[in-house]
């Protein structure tokens, strides 16, 4: 049903993680300025590289599957593109982000010819490679962002970008770079597409609350889903006149969301359990909790286990606070492990407890009553 991985002896939180194309390697940041790369060898995960170039905490990692390049961004206001040489060593290329605040999130475009970086400077840098100087240059999307950009996702057409921000808004922009791309045709979100064109803007909450933690375009690119700090999940549909559906849930806020089929949405966050929601007509329906782990009988707890569990939950008193879930602390990152957004088979989650869990949707579907992924 699910497989739990821990890397090395460290219990440090995993800030974010990214897989390579065939899922034999993973890059993650243990909540500091380093990016660790682990490779699967048999049943073991061995560290093969440690990418140290950032000075401050790494906030985002994305691994382009086809060009095999990693992009990382950090609180030190820099982003680096890493390419692997024939000897297996990773080397950096400079990215000129031109920002004066922390970079918070980064995503490769689907065609992998550009990437977007969100930042605390209230702007998004769209970066593309400039051969003459051998560096990545950027163009800015500034208006009308009024606070830190916290999350980004690309539309499958390689042109549109959705950004969530701490000003409680989700916005769809055109990220068309005329220097490197052909003129895009019209789509459901709009027809005039110069760089930075605002195509849609949605408030997370009409009462103005809840900064946006995560956004996701659906596989067909017609819908946008996001989660906010007011424990809500929202969906906007471009084919329905950009109408918005919002569900205020009874759980702690969600930090990540991802589509796993055209109608099924995965969310996870501070309540440590991934949940599945289904978008059905004009409602967003709760389907199931994907983690039914029961509390384990703690027979003969070893000292090692005990201190590890103290570390995972970042607590200092020794009273037992084991949660009824696999993750023992907030889930901060969801990524797809097998399949695509249109038809995902497996996904992975990582969080503050330093664990990475790979979930198998097929076996979950068999084992959880009433769970049907449509």
């Amino acid at each position: 049903m699910s497989q739990t991985l821990t890397f090395g002896d460290s219990c440090a939180p995993i800030t974010c993680h990214a897989w390579n194309k065939d899922r034999t390697q993973i890059a993650f940041s243990p909540n500091n300025n380093e990016v660790h790369i682990y490779q699967k060898e048999g049943n073991e995960w061995k560290q093969t590289n440690n990418l140290v170039e950032h000075d401050l905490r790494v906030m985002g990692i994305d691994w382009a599957p086809n060009t095999n390049r990693i992009v990382t961004c950090s609180v030190d206001r820099n982003a680096y593109v890493w390419t692997q040489g024939d000897d297996g060593k990773w080397t950096t290329t400079l990215v000129l982000l031109r920002i004066n605040r922390a970079a918070t999130c980064v995503k490769w475009s689907p065609a992998e010819n550009k990437f977007a970086v969100g930042s605390g400077a209230r702007l998004i840098s769209i970066c593309y490679f400039e051969k003459e100087n051998n560096w990545w240059v950027s163009k800015h999307i500034k208006k009308p962002i009024r606070s830190t950009v916290t999350t980004l996702d690309w539309h499958p057409n390689n042109i549109l970008l959705v950004a969530g921000s701490a000003d409680f808004k989700v916005r769809v922009f055109s990220a068309y770079i005329k220097d490197i791309e052909d003129q895009p045709g019209p789509n459901v979100w709009g027809s005039k597409l110069p760089l930075g064109q605002l195509l849609a803007e949605f408030p997370n909450s009409p009462s103005g609350g809840g900064w946006v933690h995560s956004v996701s375009f659906s596989a067909d690119g017609n819908k946008v889903a996001w989660v906010g700090h007011d424990s809500s999940i929202s969906i906007a549909d471009a084919t329905q006149g950009k109408s918005m559906i919002k569900v205020k849930t009874e759980y702690l806020p969600f930090l990540g969301c991802n589509w796993i089929s055209n109608n099924s949405l995965l969310v996870a966050g501070h309540s440590c359990i991934p949940l599945l929601y289904c978008h059905d007509g004009d409602e967003l329906r709760f389907v199931a909790k994907l983690d039914n782990t029961q509390r384990k009988e703690s027979g003969g707890l070893s000292a090692m286990k005990k201190f590890q569990s103290l570390d995972r939950q970042a607590r200092i008193e020794t009273s037992d606070t084991y949660l009824d879930s696999i993750h023992q602390n907030a889930i901060t990152c969801i990524s797809l492990y097998k399949g695509t957004k249109a038809n995902a088979k497996k996904f992975s989650t990582s969080g503050l407890d330093g664990q990475l869990v790979i979930w198998d949707l097929d076996s979950l579907e068999r084992s959880i009553e009433g769970l049907k992924i449509v």
Binding site: P203, P206, S207, W211, G228, H229, D230, S231, E250, L252
Partner: protein, 129 residues
């Protein structure tokens, strides 16, 4: 939840005294509760209006007996539970004789319906009661 809901809120009649007092006098407390929550001046910028609404809402909350709380909460929509939670927390700020204990009971029942989400929304919503 639609945006229409909040638009209604901000245009709502801000004098909750006027609308809730007749219900209170008739001892129809649950009706009164629905009225004060449904007309809460969340969008208002006038502190006086908000304070008046708080006073009448607390009066209603404290008038409802412990045994009736569960029934009262069960009659509310999820949006109203969020507003109720906001009033409960504001009520803790201005304690009077025995009020906090009673509000804790309200908190327990509202939490049973709204879960952690409604508490998170007290903290994260910009529009306060």
């Amino acid at each position: 939840m639609t945006s229409k809901y909040y638009e209604n809120k901000s245009n709502a009649r801000h004098d909750n005294y006027e609308i809730a007092t007749p219900q209170l006098e008739k001892r129809r407390y649950i009706e009164a509760l629905k009225l004060v929550l449904g007309n809460a001046p969340v969008g208002s910028t006038n502190q006086q209006v908000k304070d008046n609404a708080l006073a009448i809402t607390l009066k209603v909350l404290l008038a409802i007996k412990s045994a009736q709380i569960e029934e009262a909460v069960g009659n509310l929509s999820l949006d109203d539970i969020d507003i109720l939670m906001k009033y409960i927390y504001r009520g803790f700020e201005y304690p009077s004789e025995g009020s906090s204990g009673h509000l804790l009971l309200w908190h327990e029942k509202a939490f049973n319906v709204g879960g952690s989400g409604s508490i998170v929304r007290v903290l994260s919503d910009r529009m306060r009661v």
